[in-house]
Amino acid sequence: MLYIIEDMINGVLMGSIYGLTAMGLTIIFGVLKVINFAHGSLLMVGMYATYWAITLTGVHPYLALAMVIPAMFIFGYYLQAIVIKPIFIAEKNVREPITVIIVTTGIWYILDNLALLVFGPQYRSLADNPLKGKMLEVGGMFVSQPKLFGFITAIITASTIHWFLQKTVMGRAIRATSMDREAASLMGINQYRIYNVAFGIGAATTGIAAVTLLPFYNVFPTVGVLFDIKCFIIVVLGGLGSISGALLGGIIIGLIESVGPQFMTATWTEAIVYGLFLLVLFVKPSGLFGQKHDW
């Protein structure tokens, strides 16, 4: 029984971090209506930014947030403004801007290979720091401290984004654009600026996920690929465009991955995750928290 509780705690903690990695993807999709295939690469860029921020300054891993969030926001903002926007404008009369998806795939390849060129193929992990390898021992149960920090960060991030989208003028403009970009434009909202901001927020959120991962994970040029597929499954499970859905989808996957191996070999949990993914697509294609109507 104790074992199951221990595994469930790990599952919820790890799952919330998965949810956090997927949050940026769901924000960008919610507004741009485009699957960002470069999402894993954004995570990779965030992880390298975090790695260097911590390694060069020697600060507590979570202080890197102060550097990584603005850096990733600017990176995302201008990536959208310079690379993706021209395609959007060229495709503005097309209902589903498929070309943009292809452009994001291009960005994925370019970023991953740039990282390989610049940083080399080595696996890097943080030097000793106040979080690395620390465990809480509660009544014979082990709880990873870096993951606990990640869990708290994921909850705070999700609530902040929710508040931002509900209560601020910019948040309302973003929601308006995501509901109906034509109508929002008619109301005087500059949809391309909203896209830039949404992409910036998505990238910054991914940067936060990178900070939570680094104290217990390592970074290498293709690290994004490992999280990519997981992120796509999470947002489909939770509902494309839903913040709380991403968090919950992540926790579901975390629980399956963590509790599952105690009853079967670890490779089977992957099959269960994909099975659940298919089941959700069949039964409730909009996901657990997604809007039913088409945009």
């Binding site: 790990n10 696996y123 992990s125 082990f142 990873s144 290498f220 690290v223 509790v259 670890a266």
Partner: protein
Amino acid sequence: MNMFSRFTLPVVALSLAFGTLAVANPTTVKIGNIEPMSGPSATLGKQGKAAREMAVEEINAAGGVKSLGGAKLELIYADSESKPEKGVAEAERLINTEKVNVLTGCWNSAVTYPTTAVAERYGIPFVVPVSVSDKITDQGFKNVFRIAAKDSWWTKDQFTFLKDIQTEFGTKVETLAFVYENGDWGKGFATQWKKLAEEAGYKVVMDEPYPSTTTDLSPVVQKIKRANPDVLMLVSNAADAILLTNTIAEYKVKVKAIVASGGGHADPSFMKAVGKNAQYLFDIVEWETDVNKPGAKEANDKYKAKNGENLTGEAVDAYLAMYVIKDALERSASLEPAKIREALAATNLTNGPGMIVGYDAVKFDATGQNENASPVIVQVNDIGKGLERITIWPKNARRAGYTPVFPMPSK
């Protein structure tokens, strides 16, 4: 349309001219190399590339292949991305488009296995520096030559080592746990382990494959802790080896020994990434920098100066592969694949710059397996100069003055 043809015609003509030149000119031998240059095993692909380049530079600087009028070796690379289908497609391309004379690769056994079949079909000799899955040389192919020991030999050596170390230190090992990546390589090892454990009378308390793309190994580590084995045996790629080693330390898993199987655990970035968490780990590898062979230190220094890292078993095998190919070309005195194949089959390489491996000769048996290949076992420990990999087994290859630490003290 008009403009199109105006541009394409000269281009086609030019490429045709160059194409015929390359075929007619006997002064280069094209070696096609299929390696993982991107994707999860990119580090190993890069090492293989650096080692090949070092060997080929040396060979070309020393006058190339003399029996072919000083022909230079030319390396052509293709990225497998660790994907079997990519390896197969690239082999077709290298053979048909690049017209390579010899193929090498592919590090990942899962890629090498179907790719060698392509080479066999076209009759192009395929030298496998290191892909250890047994079945690669069990296909009855005539054109496949493997330099590294195959995995059934590795596993046998791991169990012999286990027996030897129990006798040496008088500590008994009764239970084993097997944890391995779920690719061809990991599953191949595990199949052998199960057979060997049964023969030797060990009890297997855990037998667990995990997906090599995993992002969290704590569930698996929890399972190891609960199974409480005497010895934990691992097969891992790089990212998962790092994750596994750190997580095992975090969860304070207590075992008498951890025996790894090279690969990720032998990756140069592994020790940097896990630090003291790797202490006392046993690892079986193709080669180690402290191996007592003439030229080994010099070759390692040269490689390190160029690439900033020590040679690895993978790199040494790739380096040796170039010398094996060169040796065969000298004897074949021909670029005809069948002649090169004959020469490779008759290989008996005992000296030269390539022979910095732990054993004394490269000689292929009827299946194309190098019958002398044998790995060594090292222990990761700090004896005053920081963490390093120290050769401990076979006992006559052990570094002078070092006593292995067994069972593992609690940290």
